[in-house]
């Protein structure tokens, strides 16, 4: 178990380096020049000499490899560099935004889990009945609507028309409800299908008939016999969906005026502030690496075959 985790972590570090190198190269080779933008900010009529001066200041004349290794040395020492746009240290800005994105994604994932278990289980317990049909309808709607549309719909309905919930701000739980639903609805829809279909498949396998022959009720068979069998699949899907939620945050954070990492990332991209972009990507990639590790550990705990291999 521990050896597997440590082996995974070691592989993850290599993965992290390669991923950041790839991102760095892509961001740097994207069209647009930050020096031009900064020069225009400073003097409306900037000359080539001004721009060149700024390029030298920022070290933009160096080759990519030099710039990457320079960035990497800093990052390994906890120094993520300075924003080209604001001239501020990126580290503190990032750490003040991290809790907001973390709250958004964790809340969305929790919502998706609760929603998917309640609906998926109800559908499997009463197949073909109201709960099942409702689940399928909600799941279809949830899976078909993009999050910016869901968000706009929720803001219009619950906040503007009914005035039940605030549309932005971060005062207390109520301001989080709309963002959580917006970011969590698609994963909730997908996961509730995973639960519903997984339970149905498990109930058609021979061991479910053994459980019937034991005299257990359908509900007990679902909970004790079918559920443990879908756990690995569910954890896998939950991992993938949580990962997708980070992408969703890029849409949801601006929509609800949340100043999170995804919002910072977006402004970085728009201003070609690739030091900011690179720092945000580092956060995202680290998140994915940790997420994958958690999924692997979770699957090991729920799949007896994998568990014996891991120990």
């Amino acid at each position: 178990m521990l050896t597997l985790v440590s082996r995974r972590l070691r592989n993850s570090l290599v993965l992290l380096m390669l991923a950041t190198l790839l991102c760095f190269t892509l961001v740097v080779s994207a069209p647009g020049n930050i020096a031009v933008l900064i020069a225009e900010l400073r003097t409306p009529k900037a000359t080539f000499a001004d721009i060149h001066k700024i390029e030298l200041e920022l070290g933009l004349d160096q080759p990519i490899v030099t710039r990457y290794s320079h960035w990497l040395t800093g990052a390994l020492q906890g120094n993520l560099g300075i924003s080209y746009k604001t001239g501020e240290d990126i580290g503190p800005a990032l750490s003040s935004r991290l809790p907001i994105t973390a709250t958004l994604v964790a809340g969305g994932a929790t919502f998706a889990m609760l929603f998917s278990f309640v609906l998926g289980f109800a559908g499997a317990l009463w197949p073909g009945r109201f709960a099942d049909v409702a689940t399928r309808t909600i799941a279809l709607l949830g899976a078909s609507m993009p999050s910016f549309f869901v968000g706009a719909l929720l803001i219009y309905g619950l906040a503007v028309q009914l005035r039940l919930l605030p549309t932005f701000g971060s005062e207390g739980l109520s301001s989080w409800i709309l963002p959580w639903i917006t970011i969590g609805l698609l994963p909730a829809a997908v996961l509730s299908r995973v639960v519903r279909v997984g339970l149905e498949e498990a109930m058609s396998r021979p061991f479910a008939l053994t459980a019937v022959a034991k005299g257990l009720t359908r509900r007990t068979i679902l909970v004790r016999h079918a559920l443990p069998n879908i756990a690995p699949t569910y954890i896998n899907a939950l991992g993938a969906q949580t990962g997708a939620m980070v992408v969703g945050a890029v849409v949801v954070e601006p929509l609800f005026a949340l100043k999170g990492v995804a919002d910072l990332f977006l402004s970085g991209v728009l201003f070609r502030d690739f030091m900011v972009v690179q720092a945000c990507l580092l956060v995202f990639i680290s998140f994915f690496v940790v997420l994958n590790l958690l999924v692997d550990i979770g699957m090991m705990f729920t799949d007896p075959k994998l568990r014996r291999q891991g120990s």
């Binding site: 005299g215 016999h225 443990p228 075959k305």
Partner: protein
């Protein structure tokens, strides 16, 4: 066979409705089982022997609707038309079940110990720690090596024979009066088959339970059963004590089945004997004897009226064939 009768099946018909079709795999079957005895139900695949036993217990795959008619008395309880909660109490309690394929009949995600213990928890009202220690006793009862370690293992860590022992432990966990074993040895190696049959015989003696053994293996029948019912196309062709039916069969189908078993004195290189033709496809009702199209002794009336299962010259044996019985020992078919 003075012990009391615990199961009496009379004129049982089973109709199965799926989304596309209606079939009658069990058509007017009657038999009885006494406490502590073993009845073997023999027949080829599709003869209805599994449906006969599982449909009344509600052990059919989802999506299949079952319609029962006739009567099944289990200890004076009528099982045809019984309410699901009452039936649930019998399943796993007074009636234990063993399935054909131990590879897939156990839950891969739960430990052996939990899968055995939950039966005693449910039917004997034991606490989870009591049930756990009973599970250990049951593993010893089915003669598992290293039972303490087995409790914490998962099905994929056991061989087929060991898994079938676990299935047996589950089936007898609540000390049932009746054990229904659906081809318990078919999926196992020959050496393991003998062990499982020996184990079943031993358990039967200890727990005084009746066994209904569904099989197509005549060797298994001879080894364990006291009486045998031979089924063909959803009907009982012949029914009686094993010694009589296997040694001196009176129905042409039983004769053919027994004759088809390869013998030690068969000439090397000789062909396997078999019955000509194929069993009928269930669906359209068969007016006459279902076996008539394949039967060497059939006459015209065989195709028109269904023969009743009646006593033969040997009173303990019944056969559904008026032709052979008329000629008494129809020895022309089989030479022993």
């Amino acid at each position: 066979m003075a012990s009391k009768e615990i199961l009496r099946v009379s004129d049982l018909c089973v109709d199965l409705f799926t989304q596309r079709s209606v079939i009658r795999p069990v058509d007017g079957v009657s038999y009885s089982v006494a406490a502590g005895e073993t009845l073997a139900i023999v027949g080829e695949s599709g003869s209805g022997k599994t449906v006969l036993n599982f449909a009344p217990l509600g052990l059919m795959p989802t999506g299949v609707n079952v319609d029962l008619s006739g009567s099944i008395l289990f200890n004076d309880t009528e099982l045809v038309g019984i309410a699901e909660p009452a039936l649930r109490k019998l399943r796993g309690g007074s009636i234990g079940t063993i399935f054909q394929d131990p590879m897939s009949a156990l839950n891969p995600a739960r430990t052996i110990g939990r899968q055995i213990a939950e039966v005693s928890e449910l039917h004997m009202g034991l606490s989870s720690s009591q049930a756990e220690s009973r599970a250990l006793d049951l593993l010893k009862l089915v003669r598992m090596s290293d039972p303490d370690a087995r409790l914490k293992q998962y099905p994929h860590e056991l061989s087929g024979g060991l898994r079938q022992r676990v299935m047996i432990a589950i089936a007898v966990a609540a000390e049932p009066q009746l054990l229904i074993a659906d081809e318990p040895t078919t999926a196992l190696d020959v050496t393991v088959q003998a062990q499982i049959i020996a184990l079943l015989k031993d358990l039967q003696k200890r727990l005084n339970m009746a066994i209904v053994l569904i099989t197509h293996d005549m060797g298994v029948v001879a080894g364990i059963a006291s009486r045998v019912a031979v089924m063909y196309a959803g009907r009982v062709a012949e029914y009686g004590p094993v010694g009589d039916v296997l040694v001196e069969p009176r129905h042409p189908y039983t004769m053919g089945l027994i004759d088809a078993i390869p013998r030690a004195d068969d000439a090397p290189g000789s062909l396997f004997r078999g019955l000509p033709g194929a069993p009928p496809i269930l669906g359209a009702p068969i007016p006459g004897c279902a076996f008539a199209p394949r039967c060497h002794a059939a006459i015209e009336s065989c195709h028109i009226t269904r023969p009743a299962l009646v006593s033969t010259v040997q009173p303990l044996v019944s056969a559904a064939c008026p032709i052979i019985n008329k000629h008494n020992h129809g020895g022309a078919y089989v030479q022993h």
